[in-house]
């Protein structure tokens, strides 16, 4: 007999070729998608990492009693609101004595952040013993100086199109030469709300707004979604009505999120008169949006639980409800939680419905509850991306990094829950 079984016939060669060709298609597809991801992350990191540091300028400030507290009353409010501007300016002029005219003085003062006076006020109010002493304090530089120090302003650019003029740059370099410029961790970014000035803007109010919205969303969507799924899957008879409900739930999952925003505007704000721009309403709208996702995920989990488990319990004389709540729901819980968390992760990144219910405002105050006016992380990113100041470019990318971090954390939590709660059968 010939040994053709062991050699490669032309047909076999064709099959092998097709096999390897297909493998290569797959590899190329994966390579392309990974390179896009790498590109995206590098772009975001390259732009955003700078925002976690900020430039400080060391100024020797003489905390003169006559300026801060001429009456010597030490009243907190007065200490906070005293006129610190001349004190800072005097300190700066010690390093840059040539800035004497009014115009030059104004330009010099613009090197430091507009928020520096409040910062000093807070420090003095916290420690009134400072009054009467002269101390080197590190105050935030303005956004332009910050960008220059980080090398993000091109000095060779025509002076007319730069906000930081040659004179300013010379002063900054003079300060730098004296060791009065340093970069430090940008705490403000994590501890304050939005601001018109990039160096004073922070992510906290948006993050808390997102947190409160998601909290409301979870409290509404999780129980409603689970109960709906359990009822439809375990109790309801399969008939035209349940079919209709099922089709409509699937349709709802595909409705563009902005439509839910309009619904929230019409129903929650205009009809029920709930407070505008609050995480309460935001969370309710997100809950509407997340519900179909949770229901669909939970139902498929329930359906995947083997019939034998139901049979075992029913055969012992457990009632429908005992079977469901002693056996089926505990088995399905990890999957249902995972579905919920993934739905919530989607809700966290949602912008459109929140625009409709007014969570798109300039919010400086940090929200303390679900009925305080707030914005959310993706909306904050949108707002910053839309701002003309160059300093916000960095902040936008930094905010995206924070949002991505939250998303990754939520997904990891879903994986952890699944591993932790999963029981084999």
């Amino acid at each position: 007999m010939p040994d053709y079984l062991l050699t490669t016939s032309p047909q076999m060669a064709k099959r092998h070729k097709r096999h390897s060709r297909f493998q290569w298609y797959g590899r190329v597809a994966i390579a392309i998608s990974i390179s896009f991801m790498v590109l995206m992350f590098t772009a975001i990191f390259a732009r955003g990492l700078g925002a976690f540091q900020k430039t400080m300028i060391g100024v020797d400030v003489e905390f003169a009693q006559s300026v801060i507290d001429p009456q010597g009353t030490r009243v907190q409010v007065d200490l906070k609101q005293a006129n610190y501007k001349p004190l800072i300016l005097t300190g700066l002029q010690e390093v840059v004595p040539d800035a004497t005219e009014r115009k030059a003085r104004n330009r010099l003062y613009k090197l430091v952040s507009g928020g520096a006076v409040f910062d000093l006020g807070e420090r003095v109010a916290a420690n009134p013993n400072m009054i009467g002493t002269t101390k080197r304090v590190w105050i935030a530089a303005s956004s332009e100086v910050d960008l220059y120090i980080k090398g993000k302003i091109d000095e060779n650019l025509d002076e007319a199109v730069r906000r930081l003029k040659d004179q300013d740059i010379a002063w900054v370099n003079q300060l730098k030469a004296e060791g009065r410029v340093k970069k430090k961790f940008n705490r403000v970014f994590f501890t304050s709300g939005d601001s018109r000035a990039p160096e004073m803007a922070g992510i906290l109010s948006a993050a808390l707004g997102s947190f409160f919205s998601l909290l409301v969303c979870f409290l509404i969507a999780f129980p409603l979604g689970i109960l709906t799924a359990v009822y439809l899957e375990e109790y309801a008879k399969k008939n035209r009505l349940t079919n209709l409900i099922e089709v409509n739930i699937n349709n709802l999952a595909a409705v563009p999120s902005i439509v839910f925003g309009l619904l929230g505007l019409a129903v929650f704000l205009n009809f029920f008169n709930l407070p505008r721009s609050t995480p309460l309403v935001g969370g309710m709208v997100l809950a509407l949006m997340t519900l179909p996702t949770i229901i669909i995920a939970s139902r498929s989990i329930l359906r995947s639980i083997p019939q034998s488990t139901r049979d075992a319990a029913m055969g012992l004389g457990a009632s429908k409800t005992q079977t469901t709540f002693h056996h089926i729901v505990p088995l399905a819980m990890p999957g249902m939680l995972t579905g919920t968390i993934l739905g919530m992760a989607r809700a966290l990144g949602e912008t459109a419905p929140l625009l409709m219910i007014g969570m798109v405002a300039f919010i400086v105050d940090v929200p303390k509850g679900v009925t305080d006016v707030a914005t959310s992380l993706p909306v904050q990113i949108f707002l910053w991306a839309d701002s003309p100041e160059k300093g916000f470019v960095e902040l936008t990318s930094a905010a995206i990094m924070v949002l991505l971090m939250f998303l990754i954390l939520m997904n990891l939590f879903a994986v952890y829950l699944r591993r932790r709660l999963e029981r084999r059968w």
Binding site: K237, T309, D311, M314, G315, L316, G317, L331
Partner: protein, 267 residues
Amino acid sequence: MEKNMTYKTAVSTNGSAPIMTANGVDVYYGKKQAIKNVSLDIPENQITALIGPSGCGKSTFLRCFNRMNDTIDSCRISGDIKFAGQDIYDSKVDVVALRSRIGMVFQKANPFPKSIFDNVAYGPRIHGLSESKDHLEDIVITSLRRAGLYDEVSDRLNEPGTSLSGGQQQRLCIARAIAVDPQIILMDEPCSALDPIATAIIENLMDSMKEKYTIVIVTHSMQQAARVSQQTAFFHLGELVESGDTESIFTNPAQERTQNYISGRIG
């Protein structure tokens, strides 16, 4: 149990009183008729085997006895099935109570994903059969003993039931069914997924169980039916072709179809 004795009303052909009687039972799945006018008596404290080729309706018929078919939406049943003289499809009958009197063991061992102890204790717990923790432990241990499993698992009652071998899992399911103290145990091909050794253990177990329980078993294996049962019923295409004494069915069947099946010509 003494109270079982009071149910002896009718006397069946082979001397034992029927604890369960089916009369003119039809079962439909949607439009398809799965069981056609079947009448059968189940004698007490005996093993009745339902045999027949795949799809002949024997499992469907078995599931009528504890109304497990109720869980299938499209399933309709007519005719009457009496347990201890009571129509089990009567609207006044509580299915939960019925199933606590008639236990069931399934084809695929299906222990709950819980500990061995909790598997057996689940039935007594939901029916409130135990007065105290000690009593519950007692029920669990007795049930495991009766199912011939206790010696193998006595030192690991807190391990998951799913960690046992296939044969042990099936005996765990039998122990779980026994724990609610039923009168009848329905077994739907309990050995079809087991090796011969595990099968032999379960067959011996059934033999010893019949003193206390009435057993109805669906089986694919004619040898098994011949080995364990006292009464055999042969189903074909939804009909009950023939029923009677196991010995006479296997040695001297009255119907040609039965003859053909047991000699391997149909099925």
